[in-house]
């Protein structure tokens, strides 16, 4: 079973490397993300949200739904840990 597994891993890795060729370069100023999305946040974040820290503005306001999902994941993981691992009877 070792050879097929290795082959599969190499194939997947090769596919990922092939797909990566189309990604924009690291920090490329002409990539779509740098031309439309980021400047919009940098120019308007303080004006629109009254929050000087752009990271907080994006995290909690523009992408608030994403953060709601994150906190729900943490909540569910923590509750599962408590249910599975708890040994003290309170």
């Amino acid at each position: 079973m070792k050879a097929p597994g290795l082959l599969l891993a190499l194939l997947t890795g090769g596919l990922l490397i092939y797909g990566e060729q189309d990604m924009p370069g690291w920090g490329d100023a002409n990539s779509p993300a740098s031309r439309h999305v980021s400047p919009r946040y940098i120019e308007k974040a303080l004006e629109e949200t009254g929050t000087a820290n752009m990271v907080t503005a994006v995290l909690a306001d523009y992408r608030g739904f994403d953060t709601l999902g994150e906190i729900t994941v943490i909540f569910a993981a923590g509750l599962s840990c408590l249910l599975l691992l708890r040994r003290d009877s309170e």
Binding site: E47, E48, T49, G50, T51, A52, N53, V55, T56, A57, L59, A60, D61, G64, F65, T67, L68, I71, T72, I74, F75, A77, G78, L79, C81, L82, L85, R86, R87, D88, S89, E90
Partner: protein, 152 residues
């Protein structure tokens, strides 16, 4: 089961450190608008203060101050605060999590307040979950007893 670590240095330093640790955690949560930080980071620092308390004073002491019931209540309250603040704009004609329509002040101010509210919710939940997971792990009896229930 973690017993109190019987060392005067550890106990004294922890007693001095824990209040300031919690104060700085609150600062990190509330000052997330202007400096690096926010609910996740502040919640982790707040949770770490309870872990330090377990290490220095033993699980029993912390169990008295903060039961599992309190931990789960705080975690639920955090998520509920987040989703509740997100739901308020729905009744005021806005979208979910669109704090701009809150009837408090100008739009940027409303959004800053909404961000602050959900950061507090995130901080509560992260703090409770951190403390809860550590306590669940620490309540394991490694010295024997197959169901791990401690004799105390």
């Amino acid at each position: 089961m973690i017993d109190p670590y019987d060392n005067v240095v550890v106990k004294t330093v922890s007693r001095l450190l824990i209040p300031f640790l919690q104060l700085s955690a609150l600062y990190v949560i509330l000052h997330g608008h202007y400096s690096p930080g926010g609910g996740f980071q502040g919640g982790v620092i707040l949770g770490a203060s309870f872990i330090l308390m377990v290490i220095a004073y033993g699980l029993e002491e912390v169990r008295r101050r903060m039961s599992i019931k309190t931990v789960t209540t705080l975690a639920c309250a955090g998520v509920l605060l987040y989703s509740g603040i997100g739901a308020v704009p729905l009744f005021l004609g806005g979208n979910y999590l669109d704090y701009g329509v809150l009837p408090i002040g100008p739009v940027p101010e409303n959004r800053a307040l909404g961000i602050l509210g959900i950061e507090i919710g995130v901080g509560l939940c992260v703090m409770a979950i951190m403390a809860g997971i550590f306590r669940a792990l620490a309540s394991f009896d490694t010295t024997g007893g197959e169901d791990g229930r401690d004799s105390a």
